[in-house]
Symmetry: C2
Subunit: 358 residues, 2 copies
Amino acid sequence: MTTQARRSVTIEDVAQHAGVSRAAVSKVIRDAYGVSDEMRVRVTASIAELGYRPRASARAMRGSSYTLGFEIPSIHNHFFPKIITGAMTALAESRYQLIIAPAGPDHDQGPQAIEVLADRQVDGIVAISSRVPQEWLEELGRTTPLVMIGRHHASVHYDTLVADDIAGAALAVRHLYDLGHRRIVHLTLAEGVPDATSSTPHGVRALGYERVMRELGLEPEFLRVDPDDARGRDGGESQAYAAVFELLDRADEPVAIFAAHDELALGVLRAVAELGLSAGQASVVGYDDTDIAEHPRMSLTSVNQSGTRMGAIAVRLLLERIAGRAQSVHEVVAPKMMARGSSAAPEHRAHERRRRTP
Amino acid sequence: MTTQARRSVTIEDVAQHAGVSRAAVSKVIRDAYGVSDEMRVRVTASIAELGYRPRASARAMRGSSYTLGFEIPSIHNHFFPKIITGAMTALAESRYQLIIAPAGPDHDQGPQAIEVLADRQVDGIVAISSRVPQEWLEELGRTTPLVMIGRHHASVHYDTLVADDIAGAALAVRHLYDLGHRRIVHLTLAEGVPDATSSTPHGVRALGYERVMRELGLEPEFLRVDPDDARGRDGGESQAYAAVFELLDRADEPVAIFAAHDELALGVLRAVAELGLSAGQASVVGYDDTDIAEHPRMSLTSVNQSGTRMGAIAVRLLLERIAGRAQSVHEVVAPKMMARGSSAAPEHRAHERRRRTP
DNA sequence: AGAGTTGTGTAGATCGCTCTACGTCCATCG
DNA sequence: CGATGGACGTAGAGCGATCTACACAACTCT
């Protein structure tokens, strides 16, 4: 294990050490056709002895970089780590490595993080950001294998993977309805926020919410927050808190709140906690079933869209694409309801009319 | 904005379009010396018109890839995103991009994630994993700018950045002592787990704990968990839960538990919640002050080591290194106590001797 | 005026790998 | 026995950038 400090060991060094050509070494490390057993053994030994590691950037120039890139819109939303975990597990035995490019705090940096990956010549990209124009993605998908998570529209040049958000929203609303709630408010992103178009998870959840509410003969009631308002990099938790605090403070009857994702739901729970309301007085349902939801102190009812499975599927789709599949695929996974303590049968507040201000 | 689908636009295309040499274009994009205003304008225009983006892998072959790599040991520990956030903010105005390589679920993959970054020819690496041998890092630091977070030992070939874990542990213990607690248990990682040597955060916290306990005339009492036991990728939360459940179930007197990090503390809180104990009966202090600690439903007392600041400092150190600084630096940041509801003055349990089993 | 400076641009080598094309050896076959 | 074809290796071009020279003006000094 002689390691020379100055310049690190290249394929040339290995070739010389093994007494063969560069091409031969290349074949061995790529497990390509045309290598005898004897040669494979010899080269492998040299590689080990010299501690050689092929440089991804050099490989990327002609062949592949053996790297898959994941773009995640926010490093704070605990849902994304689930996807990554699923992806890493799926990738464990493969020769591919995974790197993550987080989108910057300025949310308009939609494509930027994805470009970072493309510039790095990754062999394929999984992206989640909903704030990226469709055409832009089509363009990218034309040259790079691409899987978009959370796009309800199928595409020609890239694969899409999405949870059935209509069904998920229905699960949430029905759960609350079955508990006995009749005032069910949907907390979601402000219109104008690019996420909220109909093809995005939030947009579709809102749609599903509205649809089920009407089916149930209830009047939809939206509460919208704009996470961009906050320079507070918390994904809307504090906006949700403020908006819901006001709403709940005003309300005298039981209210159920269906938040478009757990981050928002946490803000809701904060307001509920500060107002000292019970789950019956203010029921909360989140979306994503992030790790923390299950904690007994949180006990947040949430819709699970199995992030780990999505991560694994995304990887599978991407590898298929890289392997050559031409036509695009649109996969949909089914969500599950996770009922917990934050939602309960409606319970009327004591008659002393309480009102507080933050 | 004519974008040719087939082969993407290279520096050669830009050069031809602008009627200059490749070298000239290269100078412009690197903002290098020897470009006239007139040329800069012309080239910039061509770049914009063609939608040219330099490929990081090609750049990396001779120059730099303008990429910094962050290795994080676990995608689940909510402390690390804080560091990333700080780093991204610090990097916002620079030409450098940030990518993340998460360590795999198998914890022995210490160096692997770091190697992934090194193989990608990043210009510098910030790594957090404590499960990497010192010599290995020295070797790496010899060839690549490297900042290690959470290493208490200074090094010759890389910079180190650490919070004062002795002081942090003292803050935690003193806080509990001042509340009136006398039985203060330290929940930390099992010996044998590589993290727990004296140079790692957990090792040093344990050391600090022991030291302060003795100063206060109290007997240290360790409770150790081994996160590797769990194939449960939860960073020890479930082990912590199990261990503490048993301890608390047995105890009749108030117990204070100082957990080595918030992830463990959440497990403790889970046990506390299930046993229905008050903060006075079982006080909990965590470490890292992750986002969730501050939530009123959690209200976890925790030691804050300002992850965002650490991220920003790490970036600064790395950029200094890249710029040429030769001798290594060892920075220490001071922790802060965040007292919240999970810790309270000891309160004796009601006399009916309760005992439950999971 | 000749010799330095600057300032600006280009040519061409080079980074470390992969890939195509081709050469060689050897066994098999008509 | 020469042709055929498969197995195994090698040579050398090429990927897209950067970087080191160096050329050529246009100025500025003696």
